[in-house]
């Protein structure tokens, strides 16, 4: 019964989406207030029905209703409750339902809180939002229905892939989707602006909070995915340039560029057409990202056709929204009027440079990810594009961007003084030079490490230069510093934190890649391994039983300079239902560095193969991302920028249930 309710609610949501995608639009064209007003209640109701549908699927999972094929294939009665819950979206069908849940949630939030948006724009935005929703409802109902049942119901399910039985699945996909789908709002606003044929600085203000929320969620989602891969996969890598990772990086790069170009538009009415294009591209990349992952096209060009219906549907959605969006842009964008002029050396100029590099980096990732597929489809040649390629191309682009980064926020609008800014950054230069020199003296080795450390310190010191100067941190008395700090606009703090976070992440990346120490050895009980001032003693293995797995845990006593500082227990888990084994690595944080231990083969004679790492500063990689998100939050809370935008505090409360 519950699954039929869920199925039916989804059909009703589709019907509502069709109403929402047409009626308000006709209203906006004919200036009919009654027709436009249809959008709001329908958007909220549409979300309500999708929520019912999602809740129904969650219920099926939590109660292990194996008469539902999707539950049977992806769940097991013995799984802990948390994983029963999260396995709702640990599969294709369920994750698509989560996608539309978030999509309609954003639509409902715009309907409820977008009170300051002019009626016709709001109606058009909600209509565009509903086009996307309708396409996805249809996709789910026709090709990926999670509510299909079969009889007789099997007694036991096939279990969720053990790798996914982790808290990471509870956080990573929802955050990622909040980010991906959050960009649908800026897409809808962009399309609506094109349809209306006018756009101004207020547009950027209305879009801003949604853009920031989406960007923050995506940043956290990508960072969480990276950390999950790091601790789950057992060889300590945190970024693999895997196409699926690239699929989430591309919207992030484009979204970051959009965030910056929207600032120019908001403050100076410039870059309007570019911002509109970027809004369309960002959501297009989110769509492509979703489908690269969902369609299986990445596994092989041929897997794409494993379910022709799904493949064709996916292509149709991509062509309609990306092609349609770009065609509309080409047709209508010339109608939009350009705004303020600025000199090349100015804040605007710096933000344009930021956009240039971010877009080029995004294009590089895009081409690198899809090139092998395209080449194979066109010529049959098979090539691989992997980490060495991306490091060689993306790396220099981002390094250039980071060198320029501290200059941007210090330049004045309209016309900046580069020499003056360089002078203000002299402190940051000095810090960077000292760091680089110290690294070189200690290492006496490749120039990459000193350069990386110098650059990271330059970005860190450069990001806080503005705040340090404006609060008079190094010269004024403490009380006046505090007073001035409180008086600074939150957006200035936001900029500083976001850039600071990037510097911190870079510092972590340099530390981990340049000084990562590794031992791959086979040990017998009683054996010792040494790594970077730490000694490990292998004490032996113990067998344990988990709720739905058996595990062998190895115990290692960790000593530093002879003193015991703790015990690490990496383990290997065997899941009976699928007969798969997972490696649970053991982690011990030492400041921002980490000791990382994972188990390999366990031999009958009691010896074990282990991989032991010392990962200097590795935690800074993710900590930096958190600092970036804090920067986004500070910017979001800037009262001056709320004019005409929904109140951020209300967004947060309203979004809480979705997390």
């Amino acid at each position: 019964m519950i699954e039929e309710i869920g199925h039916y609610a989804l059909v009703l949501a589709l019907a509502l989406a069709l109403v929402q995608s047409t009626v308000p639009l006709i209203g906006a064209r004919t200036r009919d207030a009654a027709l436009m007003a249809v959008a709001e209640p329908v958007a909220v109701a549409q979300f309500g029905f999708v929520a019912i549908s999602f809740a129904a699927l969650v219920t099926c999972y939590v109660t292990s209703d194996f008469s539902v094929r999707n539950v049977f294939e992806n769940s097991h009665s013995q799984m802990p409750l948390l994983y029963k819950f999260t396995s709702t979206w640990g599969n294709h069908e369920g994750s698509m339902l989560l996608w539309v849940l978030i999509l309609t949630l954003f639509g409902a939030l715009v309907a409820l809180f977008g009170n300051n948006i002019p009626a016709s724009l709001k109606a058009t935005v909600l209509a565009v939002q509903a086009w996307v929703a309708a396409a996805f409802h249809l996709f789910i109902l026709m090709t990926s229905n999670p509510f299909l049942r079969f009889a007789p119901a099997p007694l036991e399910g096939r279990d969720l892939n053990p790798v996914l039985q982790d808290i990471g699945l509870a956080i990573h996909p929802p955050m990622l989707y909040l980010g991906y789908v959050g960009f649908s709002i800026s897409f809808s606003f962009a399309i609506a602006a094109l349809i209306e044929g006018r756009i101004d600085a207020a547009w950027a203000r209305w879009v801003r909070p949604w853009l920031l929320v989406a960007w923050m969620c995506l940043t956290l989602g990508v960072a969480m995915g990276s950390y999950w891969a790091y601790y789950e996969l057992g060889w300590g890598g945190w970024w693999f340039w895997d196409p699926v990772e690239n699929a989430s990086l591309m919207p992030w790069l484009a979204g970051t560029a959009l965030l910056h170009s929207a600032v120019v538009m908001e403050k100076r009415e410039a870059l309007k057409i570019w911002t509109i294009l970027l809004a369309i591209l960002t959501f297009s990349l989110s769509l492509i990202g979703t489908f690269l992952v969902r369609s299986g096209v990445l596994t092989s060009v041929h897997a794409f056709a494993s379910d022709p219906m799904r493949g064709i549907f996916i292509l149709a959605i991509l062509v309609t929204f990306i092609g349609g969006g770009l065609a509309l842009f080409a047709w209508r964008a010339p109608l939009l009027r350009q705004g303020g002029l600025f000199a090349p050396v100015s804040r605007e100029g710096a933000l344009v440079l930021n956009n240039l590099f971010l877009t080029a980096a995004c294009a590089t990732v895009f081409v690198g990810t899809l090139y092998p597929l395209a080449l194979e489809a066109l010529t049959g040649d098979k090539i691989s594009v992997g980490p060495p390629f991306f490091n060689a191309t993306f790396g220099p682009l981002f390094a250039a961007l980071l060198i320029a980064l501290p200059f941007g926020p210090l330049l004045a609008w309209k016309r900046g003084d580069l020499a003056g800014v360089a002078q203000r950054l002299s402190g940051a230069f000095v810090v960077a030079l000292i760091g680089a020199a110290a690294t070189f003296v200690v290492e006496g080795r490749p120039l990459l490490a000193p350069f990386g450390i110098g650059l990271a310190l330059f970005v860190i010191a450069g990001s806080i230069t503005d705040i340090v100067e404006r609060t008079g941190l190094l010269r004024a008395p403490l009380m006046s510093v505090a007073r001035r700090a409180a008086g600074l606009p939150r957006s200035a703090w936001g900029t500083a934190f976001a850039h600071l976070g990037l510097g911190i992440t870079l510092l972590g990346i340099v530390g981990e890649t340049q000084w990562n120490a590794e031992r791959i050895v086979s040990v017998k009980p009683g054996d010792k391994i040494a790594i970077h001032n730490y000694d490990f003693t292998f004490d032996g293995t113990t067998d344990r039983n988990g709720p739905n797995y058996k595990e062998v845990a190895a115990t290692f006593t960790v000593r530093r300079h002879g003193e015991v500082i703790g015990v690490m227990q990496p383990s290997k888990r065997t899941f009976g239902s699928r007969g798969t084994t997972t490696t649970e690595s053991a982690l011990m944080a030492r400041g921002f560095s980490q000791l990382y231990l994972s188990l390999g083969e366990l031999n009958p004679d009691g010896s074990a193969a282990v991989r032991l790492y010392y990962k200097p500063l590795v935690l800074l990689i993710w900590l930096g991302c958190v600092v970036m998100v804090i920067g986004g939050g500070l910017s979001l809370s800037d009262r001056r920028l709320r004019v005409g935008a929904p109140k951020p505090a209300r967004i947060k409360t309203a979004m809480a249930p979705a997390e």
Binding site: V163, L164, V244, D307, Q338, Y371, S384, F389, V521, R611
Partner: protein, 160 residues
């Protein structure tokens, strides 16, 4: 069985969120060379080589039997005195370019390699063109719609 196969693909895709489907323990203790310099070179080469039966994994990361064979092969060639270049050439002659994670610059990879520079250049040209175009005909503000005129006068009335 088609649904089941789809489910496997779907799962593989979520697994791919993590980079791979199975957690792995790639290089094994018995593979490690005693000569630290050679071993470092072997690891460096391993990261440049693709495990052909895996999804986007280097042989350094993969625990597939093929990856192990390739790792051992790389180490054998290095021990025999091959240069890094010779090892890579040997593997390409055996398995084709597919084995290289960084494709060489050739006519069919030109577009790939030129993308970063081309994107930067195209962006710079577009910026230049936009700046030039903007010298002419900077438009004035858009007039208000009747609806906005009405709301504006309402607000003025209210405040006065």
């Amino acid at each position: 069985m088609r649904a089941w196969r789809n489910a496997v693909i779907a799962l593989a895709c979520w697994g791919a969120v993590l980079g791979v489907v199975h957690p792995v323990l790639a290089v094994q203790p018995d593979e490690v060379l005693t000569d630290a310099t050679l071993e470092a070179r072997a690891r460096g080469l391993s990261r440049e080589l693709r495990c052909m039966v895996c999804q986007n994994q280097s042989i350094d990361d993969s625990d597939a039997p093929l990856a192990r064979d390739l790792r051992i092969l790389v180490r054998e060639r290095l021990t025999a005195g091959d240069s890094d270049e010779q090892v890579l050439n040997f593997l390409v002659s055996r398995y084709g370019e597919f084995v290289l994670l960084k494709p060489p610059f050739e006519w069919h990879t030109a577009l790939l390699w030129l993308t970063p520079a081309a994107a930067l250049l195209a962006g710079a040209i577009a910026m230049f063109a936009a700046v030039r175009r903007r010298r002419f005909g900077v438009a004035g503000p858009v007039p208000l719609s009747p609806e906005e005129e009405r709301r504006l006068s309402e607000m003025i009335d209210k405040s006065s």
